[in-house]
């Protein structure tokens, strides 16, 4: 997949300023890495650290404490912002689950403003007015660059329709199980079993997407959502916990057999949903044809 040169140049400039690399491999895999990483927030306050060290050499305890404390505040703000950006990226991958998250970026931005104001007031000795102005400019810059989280995010699903809510809740619940499955997969060392589990996770997500596209499929996939997903999650959790403690070939083989069966069942489930869709479409086409014939249009 090639990128036009102009696009590459624009990206390069942005990446240079934001201190991040374009993730071409991830883009190819359909995953977008967080491009802004908050690197600027880690770099800009470095003179404060130098100031604290110079103060240490010059025997100025007040300067060491002031510069050191403000530098630490800046670092805390930068760390929170980075975590906020990562959390935002993680949420982007989830399709049905919306995590309740602490507005880390907003807290990071407010801390950046506070640290800038304090640095101007205490370390530089500016007046209150100038310190507030510095803090305001820093927060404005932060907002333009990283964007504060919107206050009072609209609810993901505001529909009053009971059936729609049921479908949405079932999808979110199933996605949480798949995320747990992914977490358990990381703990498994065997590459073959890991690959099987990743495939099962991908199949599961594709079934969820199918249900989201046609919510009536939910009632056909109830067993998949409630029994199979739970089962595979529990077995994988158990295996991930015990396989490092007990080196048993038999256990590994049993787990492999279960995974093969699960893969087959998931595949069948997917095909069954697709064939029902095709059948429904056939009926709709037939009905439309009959209606057109009845009304004299061939």
């Amino acid at each position: 997949m090639s990128t036009p040169p102009e696009q590459r140049r624009t990206l390069g400039l942005t990446e240079l300023i934001l201190g991040a690399k374009p993730g071409r491999e991830q883009a190819a895999q359909g995953l977008r890495r967080p491009r802004a990483k908050g690197t600027l927030l880690f770099i800009l306050p470095i003179p404060l650290l130098i100031g604290a060290l110079v103060g240490l050499g010059a025997g100025r305890l007040d300067a060491v404490l002031a510069d050191g404390a403000i530098f630490a505040l800046f670092m805390a703000a930068a760390d929170l912002t980075r975590r906020g950006l990562r959390a935002e990226h993680a949420e982007q991958i989830l399709r049905f689950t919306r995590l309740q998250r602490v507005p880390l970026k907003t807290i990071g931005g407010l801390l950046t403003g506070l640290a800038t104001g304090l640095a101007a007031l205490v370390a530089v000795g500016q007046g209150w007015g100038m310190s507030l102005a510095f803090a305001a400019v820093a927060m404005l810059g932060f907002h333009l660059l990283y964007a504060f989280e919107p206050l009072g995010r609209p609810r993901a699903l505001s529909s009053k329709d009971e059936r729609v809510r049921t479908v949405a809740a079932a999808l979110a619940e199933a996605e949480r199980k798949l995320i747990d499955l992914d977490r358990a997969t990381i703990a498994i060392a065997n590459p073959e079993l890991k690959a099987r589990l990743l495939r099962i996770g991908a199949q599961g997500r594709s079934i969820l997407n199918q249900i989201a596209d046609r919510p009536t499929d939910l009632f056909r996939a109830r067993k998949f959502l409630s029994v199979y997903l739970d089962g595979v999650k529990q077995v994988t959790d158990g295996y991930a916990r015990t396989h490092r403690l007990v080196d048993s070939r038999e256990l590994e083989q049993n787990f492999r057999n279960v995974l093969v069966t699960v893969e087959e069942v998931f595949d069948q489930q997917q095909r069954r949903l697709l064939s029902t869709d095709v059948m429904d479409l056939d009926v709709q086409i037939e009905v439309l044809k009959k209606q057109l014939e009845r009304e004299g249009i061939q």
Partner: protein, 42 residues
């Protein structure tokens, strides 16, 4: 039966790159300037 809204892609808001460059300049001017001033204030 309508498709659940939760099925829509969940993309976070990202300001356009020009705005982000402006934000970077403002952040550099304020935080960078204050830090440098603090360093030379000794």
């Amino acid at each position: 039966m309508p498709v659940p809204q939760q099925g829509e892609p969940n993309l976070p808001y990202r300001p356009p790159w020009g705005i982000r460059v402006l934000g970077g300049v403002l952040l550099t001017c304020s935080v960078g300037l204050v830090s440098c001033q603090a360093m030379f204030a000794l």
